[in-house]
Symmetry: C2
Subunit: 186 residues, 2 copies
């Protein structure tokens, strides 16, 4: 599950897998300076950009899932709030500016050690266009969502929740584990 490490990033000596004192898991530990190199899940944060009764999707220009449709999202950076990361990714992938409404969906994907979260957001204007990792940006009505060409299950789930919740105008935050026994990403 962890990425294999060979050398200590602090002193450059070889590391080995050990259970540190007071711990109960194998970690990569430096044989020389004894630094423990913890590895932890990463957060992917993004937006569900809304304009009237349409939502903005991006068609991916990069692998995995190149050519398929997604919501703008990416890895949260150090020093950034999850909502600021979602805004930044929306700007980078769709050149779109948004006003965040609130957190909406949160998914645990333990098989790839990732946590995804999406924020509902209003598009500030219609000046959007593909960023470097995007082939095409387009607003979709519910009836036109390309359900068979969505890039990831977290996108399908978020859109599915949204269109259902919209009928009652109540958007409770949804927490969901997406546990698969093989990688969904080829």
């Amino acid at each position: 599950m962890d990425t294999s490490l060979n050398y200590c990033s602090q002193c450059g000596h070889p590391v080995a897998q050990k259970i540190p004192t007071g711990d109960n898991r194998l970690r990569f530990v430096c044989n020389q300076c004894e630094t423990v190199h913890y590895q932890n899940p990463r957060i992917i944060t993004g937006c569900l950009p809304i304009h009237g009764d349409r939502v903005l999707l991006c068609r991916r220009s990069i692998e995995p899932r190149a050519g398929l449709w997604t919501l703008p999202a990416g890895f949260l950076e150090n020093g950034e709030t999850t909502s600021a990361g979602a805004e930044r990714e929306t700007l980078e992938e769709a050149n779109a500016r948004v006003d965040i409404i609130d957190l909406y969906t949160l998914f645990s994907l333990p098989h790839i050690s990732q946590v995804y979260m999406f924020f509902r957001a209003h598009l500030k204007d219609l000046n959007f266009s593909p960023g470097e990792e995007t082939l095409e940006t387009r607003l979709f009505h519910e009836a036109d969502i390309p359900w068979d060409d969505l890039a990831f299950p977290v996108i399908t789930e978020t859109l599915r929740h949204y269109f259902r919740d919209r009928t009652t105008d109540t958007f409770d935050v949804r927490y969901q584990d997406l546990i698969v026994t093989r990688r969904l990403i080829p």
Copy 2:
């Protein structure tokens, strides 16, 4: 904000800070094998363990904030869902078994590159006791919460939301940025 790296964990050669092609941030990049060493925020996951009209708090035996009261929580591990991590931390810190109800609070702490989340949970039984990082475990009524001796703002906020929400029995998930210009942890 990032931890300083000196050597490549893959090949052991020195690294330098550079902006990789197609990126817009300084990363530690290996001078030899060109591996980019990304650093990202970590997730702390925990429980608000409930029994009737009382909640379970733990008094910390370790720094930071040794001697102060907290909710059981800790770093999410690779291969783990955020709710499973919350359950595990509750077992490790309070020897307490819980049934998770739902996600409750989520906090971004950009100054320390952490995301905290707490799940409401029912205690399965009253067989709890201090784990290794805990001096004392105790159930508290609202009137007895040691507000001045809580370890972290995320604990205060989660308890404050809970006791307010309990009056209406509606526990909406709360997302909150806790932005401080200096470290709260000495």
